[in-house]
Structure formats: C-alpha cells, structure tokens
C-alpha cells in the first residue's frame, strides 16, 4: 500500500471547479511525476472548503498550509518550492483582510477558528469519489453500529435525544419525524432526501453532496433501518450536475462494497437508493410538493395533514429530511446524543451551516455552533463588510426570512431567536447588506423571486405576492403613497395567515421585516420620493452644476437619449423628463459638473 507523506488537497466544489481546479490538479500531478514525487505526495480533489471567496483553494497537509486563488500556473512553484524545498509560497497564502497579514497556517485563519464542522466534517478533507477515504473517516461505522448493536427504536431515541431539528428550514424535530414514520403501518415505506436546494445564494446541501456523498447515503440507510423502509430516493436539482455525478459514484461504490443492497453487514437489512431529478422549482423543496413531483404530478403542495410520515410517496409513509440534516446523523450515532446536545442552545442543538453572501469579505460556507452570534459570523468568520462600508442588515432564511439589523447582531443564532426577531433560519442563506443597498428594493427583489417561484395553487400566494411586488415597485418608482404602506402590511399579514404552504406563509417576511426595521426608508420613498441609499433609479435626478460646467459637450454627446442640451462653451442642461438615469454623463464629465441626487 502506498502511503503518501504529503497530501495536497485541492477543492473540487462547483465554485472552485469553475475556476479551473481540475486543470490545477492534473498540473500538480504532472509536476510530481516529473520530480519523481508521485509516490510520496498525493493530490486529492476534495469537496468544498467553504472558503469560496478566494478559490481555487489548495491545502497542504500535514503542514496545514492554506493557499488561495491558486491557478494551474502556480503548480510548478508549489511543487518546486513548498514540496521539494519546504518553503511556503508566500504570495499564495491567505491575507487577513483586517491585519493584512499573510496567514502561515490554516489554523490561524479567523474563517475557520470559530467554525465547528460536523455536517461539513469531511468536506474539503476527503476525496468524495473514494469510498475508502470515507470509510477511513468512520464512514458507514454508524450504520454498522445501529445494525449490529441497536434496535430501530433505540436509534430513533438517540436521534430524538440529540435534539437535532430539520435543517431545511422548518426546524421540526428530526427524531420525532423518524418516530412517526416508524410507527406508521404500511407494507412499503420510503426514505427521501430533499436535495432541492433553492434559496438564492444557498449551497450547503450541494457542498455536502459534492464533498461527502457517503454520509448522506449512510444516514438514509440508518433512517431506513429505523423506519422500516428499504427504498431511498434522493430528490436532487438537475442543475447540480457535479453533486449528481458524485452521488452516483458514491451509490455505485456503496453497492460494490455491499453497504447498499441486500443483507447489509449480514444483518438481513436491505436498502438501496435511487435518484430523482427536480427541475428547479423552489416550491418543490416543500415536502408534499417534492413528493408530488416525484410521483410525476405537478409540483405543488397539498394540505398537511396527512404528513408524508403518514402518507407520502405513492401514498406510503415517507421520511423526508434535508441533506444537511442527514449529514448530522452519523456523528450523532457514533458520538452520542449527549455530545451533540451539548453543542448549541437550549432548543437548537448542534451546528448550522450558513452560506455567507453579499457585501461580506469572506463569502463562503461556514458551519458554526447554534448560539453563535450574527456578529461573530459576519465580522469574525466573514471578515467584516467589503470595502469598509457600513453594515446595514443581514437577510437570513432567504426569501422566506427577514432582515436583521445592527440591534440583532448579538443575538445568539437559533431557530427560535430568529423567528422572534421576525426572520427565520431557513436553509441557512445569509446575505449581508451594506449602506448602499435600498431595503425597499431588497424586499422587492425577494418578492420578485417568490412571484416567480409560487406554484400558483392558492390564491393568496399566487395573486397576493404579485400585488405585494407591484406595490413595492410603485414605491421604488416614487409613485407610492403612505396608504401603500398600510396595504403592504395588511396584505403581507393575510398572505402569511392564509397561504397553503410554507412558501406563501413566509414570503411576506422580507416586506414585514423591512417595514419593521426600516420604516424610515419606506417613508422617504413615499413621502419625500427619495431613496436614501441612492439605489432606486427612478428616484434619482441628474443635474448639471452651472458653476462647474465648461460646455465641453462631452455629456451631451454620450447621452443615449439626447436629454442634454447646450451650446459649446455654454452651460448644459439635463432634461429630467427625458433622462433615463443611466449615469453615462456623470461618468464622462471631467469637471465634476454632473450631480446626482
């Protein structure tokens, strides 16, 4: 057996792959062969490291050196300098945005310091296409344990006692769900993995499937054992080709090793998994809609009860959990419910993966213990706001969540606290907004998403969200009135109160939370017809300061709609009625004569 002394881990998540990490890997390998080092140094294409901001990421172990933004051309230097001569390639080391220091050791990165990786434990650490590396990291040990040492009921009890709650957004007790499915009587049951991740900006499920597919397979098998199901289905977005590919490889390997199929571990337990592809409808993340979609029917939700645990896929009891939820199961089984429940807050146990996005320095995937504050996540792990701008708000929970402000930054993040603040956990999207962002526009952006993604089944969601969007659009165009704010609120509340499924019941949250926290911005739009963030184009006015204008005609020539008039060497004037606020004149003027307000 070849034992490599040095391991070079290269991120093979979707993000880093797009920045050519495949070529990087092959170049590294070629360099090693040329130097006769391929027996000593192993290059591993892993899943996502989470530090997507500066991909492709390369980590060298055991030195624990973290290189960022590595290009295929850098391969030679890494091998020649670092591997052969033992000298770190300083220019590729990560630079701390605050201290401007190059970080010599991955342990020194703030990005990782506060993280606790349970669901992501193998992401960026093992080769997701190798079942051996998974097994080396205790893959399938939890399955072995439950099959040989525990009864289904005991296993359910462990999951229940761990306090694990659904990571897909609902936050329902996972153990309780398992218990209900286990207790439902039927000749056939199903285990479904919800991999229909749809929140804008969220990609934790994709990363887990790309980085550690075996953990999901193992957890589904454990669930099958607990509930009495021998059939698993992964409902995955067709837009996740890499995750699908890796999952397929993993399933094939697990079958070859006898870890899926008949008589697993000689215990008589049978379990196998198939894939089902979703066409990217957001609402299919809702479990009843997901099930209908798998049945070949229109992907739209139905009223619960009956819950899928009682009547799901093809009318049979079906346990539906999300990818991240499953990824927590094997560690809980191996390390115990007490270990897991010692992490987190009173009612939210364990960790949560968040996808940091927006105006934050370290965009990426982070996993932190429940109870970590937003400040820690945004300012320590996330490295603060880009360009030294002022933090304004953070949207958690994607389009179903709400925005939280400065005053919420020190609240420990958990399911209940976020709801109490008018937002929600959701699947873990976290979009950071700075002073340049208009909150009305942001609410409008989310409503635009919901209007697109509503399935259209129930009236309040189908029509109500459309009307909400229209009112927001009127406001951002400067045509809103104070009455519109009342209408927004009433409509939002009714949509929440009457919609059929979680999508509609949460879709007005971005409106309500911005109304609550940024009423002044709304009022500025409807009373003064001004956008304080200067983002609403229709509320801007371009004008030329006569003092500064020299009459060079540059602005008039660049204006695409001929809204600027004036003779050469005379002061020019912008016709506000014609102006489309494209900003071309502002860019062109060399004399600081064009102003915008």
């Amino acid at each position: 057996m070849i034992k490599h002394k040095i391991h070079i881990l290269v991120c093979g998540g979707t993000g880093c792959k797009s920045s050519n990490s495949d070529l990087l890997v092959s170049t590294l390998r070629n360099e090693l062969i040329e130097n006769g080092l391929d027996k000593e140094v192993q290059v591993v294409l892993t899943g996502c490291f989470g530090f997507c901001e500066q991909g492709p990421i390369v980590k060298v172990l055991p030195d624990n050196i973290f290189y960022v933004g590595v290009k295929p051309d850098d391969a030679h230097e890494i091998i020649a300098e670092h591997i052969i001569k033992g000298r770190k390639v300083q220019r590729l080391l990560y630079v701390d945005p605050k201290t401007k220091e190059r970080i010599q050791d991955a342990k020194g990165m703030n990005f990782y310091k506060k993280q606790l990786r349970i669901a992501l434990r193998n992401c960026g650490f093992i080769d997701p296409e190798s079942i051996d590396e998974s097994i080396a990291r205790d893959g399938y040990a939890a399955l072995a344990k439950v099959l040989t040492e525990l009864t289904p009921a005991e296993t359910v009890q462990i999951v229940k006692q761990s306090g694990l709650r659904g990571r897909g957004g609902g936050g329902f007790s996972t153990g309780l769900k398992w218990e209900i499915t286990a207790k439902s009587q039927a000749d056939q049951k199903y285990v479904v993995c919800n991999a229909d991740e749809g929140d804008p900006g969220a990609f934790m499920d994709r990363s887990i499937l790309e980085g550690d597919p075996h953990t999901v397979i193992e957890a589904m098998a454990i669930n099958g054992y607990c509930t009495g199901a021998d059939k698993g289905l992964v409902y995955i977005r067709a837009e996740y080709p890499l995750a699908i590919e890796r999952l397929k490889i993993a399933i094939k390997q697990a079958r070859e090793y006898g870890l899926l199929g008949q008589d697993i571990f000689g215990t008589g337990f049978n379990f196998d998994i198939d894939l089902r592809y979703g066409a990217g409808a957001f609402v299919c993340g809702e479990e009843t809609a997901l099930i209908h979609s798998m049945e070949g029917e229109r992907g739209e939700p139905t009223f619960k009860p009956p819950f899928p645990s009682e009547e799901g896929y093809l009318g049979k009891p079906t346990n539906v959990n999300n990818v991240e939820t499953y990824a927590n199961i094997p560690p809980i089984i191996l390390q115990g419910a007490e270990w897991f429940s010692s992490i987190g807050t009173e009612k939210s146990k364990g960790t949560k993966v968040f996808a940091l996005a927006g105006k934050v320095n370290n965009v990426g995937l982070v996993e932190v213990p429940m109870g970590t504050t937003l400040r820690e996540v945004i300012f320590e792990i996330g490295g603060g706001i880009k360009g030294n701008k002022k933090f304004k708000a953070v949207q958690t929970g994607g389009p179903s969540g709400g925005c939280l402000t400065e005053k919420h930054l020190d609240i420990p993040i958990d399911y209940d606290n976020l709801i109490a603040c008018g937002s929600m956990m959701g699947s873990g999207g976290m979009i950071i907004v700075d002073e340049d962002d208009c909150m009305v526009s942001m609410a409008k952006y989310y409503l635009d998403f919901t209007v697109e993604e509503s399935c259209g089944k129930c009236s309040p969601c189908r029509i109500g969200n459309k009307r909400l969007y229209e009112i927001l659009e009127t406001i951002t165009k400067g045509k809103g009135t104070v009455e519109d704010l009342d209408r927004l609120r009433n409509l939002s509340e009714v949509i929440k109160d009457t919609s059929l499924c979680g999508l509609g019941q949460t879709s007005p949250n971005p409106v309500l939370s911005t109304l609550d926290n940024f009423l002044d911005e709304y009022e500025a739009h409807v009373k003064d017809h001004k956008c304080p963030a200067g983002q609403c184009r229709d509320l801007m006015t371009y004008w030329i300061e006569p003092e500064n204008c020299v009459g060079c005609t540059a602005c008039a020539r660049v204006c695409p709609v001929s809204a600027i008039s004036g003779e050469r060497k005379e002061v020019h004037i912008i016709d506000a009625a014609l102006c489309i606020k494209c900003g071309a004149c502002l860019e062109k003027c060399k004399f600081n004569a064009v102003y915008v307000s």
Partner: protein, 138 residues
C-alpha cells in the same frame, strides 16, 4: 471488489484506510500530536536531512507514536545541520542540532517518548526563531 460483509470487515478495512489519510488527520490537529519539523533547505539536505526525515517518519510510525513530520525551510543554524524542531503536545518547541539517524533514534526514545532532555539542544526560544524566519523571508 472489496465486499464489506460484516462489522469486522468494516473495522479491518477502516484501520487499513485510516493509515492512508493519517497524515491529513494529524496535520489537521497539530496541537494534539508530536510535531517534528526537519529543516530542509539546501544546507540541511546537503548534510543528510532527507535521510533523517525518512528515518523519523518510518520509525515514529513503527514505534506507534502519533506524530507529524514535516519539512521546513532553513532555520538559520546552518552550522548545526541537520536540525530538527520537536514540539510535544503542551510543550514549547525544542530545536536539536547535528541530527543523524543515531541522534534521531535517541531523540525519539528519550525526549519524545519520555520527555527526557538529550544533548544537542540549541538554546534559543521558539519565538525568536519564528521571528527570525519571518524577517529572513521578507
């Protein structure tokens, strides 16, 4: 193809496979393992550091010591090459000079296993070494 038919199969397989990625595991948790850094600049290599490094790696594993052996650049003590730096969990790092295989064996047996000090310690604290190194590279 490997068939994992029983729990024992899985355990056996896991033990074998864990060795393959042990380097990664211990590299990821340096604070809980013995860390050995071998200075592998031209001076070190010329004076036989590579042999020492391979010896350390093999012997430490053979003797069942959870450890990470990595290479590093010149430590600045070229007169004493080959040099190695050993960090026991919870201890300050120590630098040993003129390490050949025999010396390496002694370091393993005495210092790493039992914490007994051996000859050849270069009496400079880790802090200043580190600073020197930083400066040297800037």
């Amino acid at each position: 193809m490997t068939k994992v038919k029983t729990l024992a199969d899985l355990k056996k397989l896991r033990e074998e496979l864990q060795k393959k990625i042990h380097v990664r595991e211990s590299g990821d948790h340096p604070e809980s393992t013995v860390q050995v850094k071998v200075a592998m600049a031209t001076c070190g290599i010329a004076s036989g550091a590579k042999d020492v490094m391979v010896f350390l790696m093999e012997e430490l594993e053979k003797r069942g010591i959870d450890s990470v052996v990595t290479q590093t650049g010149c430590m600045g003590y070229c007169y004493a090459e080959p040099t190695i730096e050993v960090t026991l969990p919870g201890h300050e790092p120590l630098v040993f000079g003129f390490v050949d295989k025999k010396k390496a064996d002694e370091i393993i047996e005495k210092y790493i296993k039992n914490g007994e000090l051996v000859d050849g310690i270069i009496p400079i604290t880790y802090q200043s070494i580190n600073e020197n190194q930083e400066e040297g590279q800037q």
